[in-house]
Subunit: 418 residues, 2 copies
């Protein structure tokens, strides 16, 4: 075993050893930890900003693009926002300890009880707020956490973790409840993905490449989040006024997020009535349109789409557009190219609405609403761990419950099986 | 891509293409398929028995041990039992379509609905009944299935699958809903474990080696079942009469199954009162005892246990026995060696009962009852897909719901996000 493997294992093992004390702590104690974290981060803003500044300078010198620099940036307002999010968790009901209870004919009492997962591993990219957000979510649900962030944010992450560990100590908890892999090589990620003994679940937070790397290499159970190649289909029976508002909102309101659409499908019979006004309405966003031949014939500003475009999550002001022969082609296209996150149909035809919801194999399937609502807050779940695009454990927006599992506690009076 | 990879992918892809028609079928149609399967198997017993006989002859010639031959064996009674299990599913309520519904302040109606997983892959070993059991469970929950069984049962599995596919055709469903990997090499299993595009979930059914191989190699989400290194701890405050009955039941009533105990831990203060009568009571089972030095000093028939014994799931009339200093050592031993399946304490001390249930990190934790109750039927779930020893998705006995996921169906009237 390499030194790196060894050191990652040590971090995970220490988190494992620290975890039972938190798992058996009450919600009040966990909330006091969260309050201490918010307080400690707020009183140490200058040190956080200094570390972040160095990360930013290196990233600029390395020629990283502006959106990435923006994701990396911390300022006073953003640190306050991070602390506010931590305090928001204090007000949420923890699922730990809840459950149901049933009695069997032989008198056995079975209690199905929500318990923490144990140790959660997080692999993520440039955004340092993920360091605090995910640690707070894990602590609120009674889990220890091991963080492995991206190389661009190493100094920012290091100080954020140091401060959170300090807050844990202040509240008389073991600082090893927050483990930090202080290395950003590919090997350090692979080492974390292999810690079967001490990490219960791995959550990758980031782009498609990261998720795929985890799916290919992880030896521990995975909660796949995020990748969103989302679609909107405008049916021939659509109310075009609704369709225009939804299409503009779903693409342009915030294109960098996973629930924004990447491909627009339009029924051939309404393409001529829908596409030119849509192009006009998105002019102010400088939206780039990549279209099929029919789209390009209708819109002079559209450029030809390639096969790759149907498969791409732009997360930018770019949209692929395809004219389709009807709902069958729309459903087939979506089920072929989608990442199974969120899709929407605009239609006034009840049968089409039903078929779309039934046959589309995605976590969230909308009728006459924007895909941008796929979000824990918008769904009313309070906090969100991410959007699950897998089918096991949790699907769609994941609230606190997704960070817990169940345990059966069975009480008897000497029952044996006959 | 090899020919084998190609052919496994084709089987999976055909199952994927067949799956939507079943997913949208009503429970009545699915039940008619199950009835057709039971009927077809019953009327073709001679052909099944003939194929099984050839498998048995080969296995005998290869010198397989008797328990394995028993697992492989089919006879008229066993085929009837398999058919009865299929018909039992008809009477169960399907979770598909159930769910809850909530309305957001902006008028969006969100329906969280149970839907099939899609295509379920099963990798299993010598028991041909698994072929029919798992196919019936998957069909009942609206899933297509791809089966890859062990080499010993290849002919038996082949005919069982052929007959089930015939039943599907008779009910006007696509026979490709039941896919069969007609190859038993390690490569064929690896090929199935890599079919990310067309298999939603993989369920390994078998021993520790198989589960471990899937965890190491699978590129698709996994439901780990089965491995059960279960423990019973007899506390110093135990009612020894209850403890004796529970210990004998948990070990000897059916030692070959995953919820039987493999290690008995006994508090030092009751070891002398408990172990000799336990040894007497298990004499009739010829139970082999492998003990720590203290155990061997108390029981002349015990042989010394090695470190490996604490780690072993015997599934046979062998039991490891260790005298411990108290509940701390018992909990530490269990959390170190357990496969996180089922553990029990016998105690009259409330604080010890609570600590044991809180601190033991296993799916089912018993107070004063036999571990043998960890079972879908005994828990009142009706059918069982297996016992999950992982924490994601489902933990403990898995009923029909574990073969489904949720999908959010959202209905709006033009809502956009502000």
């Amino acid at each position: 075993m390499s030194n790196l493997d060894e050191s990652v294992r040590t971090v995970c093992h220490k988190a494992r050893l620290a975890s039972p004390a938190l798992a058996s702590a009450g919600d009040g104690q966990k909330n006091r930890i969260l309050e201490a974290i918010a307080r400690t981060l707020r009183t140490n803003k200058p040190a956080i900003l200094e570390a972040n500044q160095k990360d930013l300078e290196d990233a600029k010198a390395s020629g990283y693009p502006t959106p990435m620099l923006d994701r990396l940036l911390l300022n006073e307002k953003r640190i306050d926002g991070i602390c506010d999010s931590v305090l928001d968790l204090v007000r949420l009901q923890s699922p730990v300890g809840s459950g149901d209870r049933f009695v069997r004919p032989n008198g056995l009492v079975i209690m199905r009880t929500r318990v923490p997962l144990g140790v959660v591993g997080i692999i993520y990219e440039a955004r340092p707020n993920v360091t605090v957000d995910t640690a707070a979510l894990c602590l609120k649900t009674g889990n220890a956490i091991v963080l492995r962030g991206g190389k661009e944010a190493l100094r920012s992450n290091r100080i954020l973790v140091d401060l959170m560990r300090k807050a844990l100590s202040e509240e008389s908890f073991d600082p090893d409840l927050i483990g930090f892999v202080d290395a950003t090589s590919r090997e350090s990620a692979l080492a974390l993905m292999s810690c079967r003994e001490d990490v219960d679940v791995l959550i990758p937070r980031g782009g498609k490449g990261l998720i795929r790397a985890c799916a290919e290499n992880a030896k521990i159970p995975l909660l796949e989040t995020g990748a969103g190649n989302c679609h909107l289909y405008v049916d021939d029976s659509a109310d075009l006024k609704k369709a225009l508002a939804i299409a503009v909102n779903a693409k342009c309101q915030r294109p960098s997020v996973c629930n924004a659409i990447e491909t627009l499908l339009v029924h051939k019979d309404v393409a001529k009535a829908f596409l030119p006004p849509f192009a006009d309405m998105t002019e102010s966003y400088s939206l780039e349109l990549r279209g099929c031949p029919e789209t390009c014939a209708l819109l002079s500003k559209a450029v030809p789409a390639s096969e790759e475009d149907w498969d791409t999550e732009y997360d930018a002001y770019i949209l692929a557009v395809k004219v389709v022969s009807g709902i069958d082609e729309a459903i087939a296209h979506i089920n072929r190219y989608s990442t199974h996150h969120s899709e929407a149909i605009v239609t006034e035809n009840l049968a089409h609405a039903r078929r779309f919801q039934q046959e589309i194999d995605s976590a969230c399937v909308y009728v006459n609403a924007s895909t941008r609502f796929t979000d824990g807050g918008e769904f009313g779940f309070g906090a969100e761990v991410g959007i699950s695009v897998q089918k096991l454990h949790a699907r769609g927006p994941m609230g606190l419950e997704a960070l817990t599992t169940v345990k059966y506690l069975i009480e008897g009076d000497g029952q044996i099986r006959s």
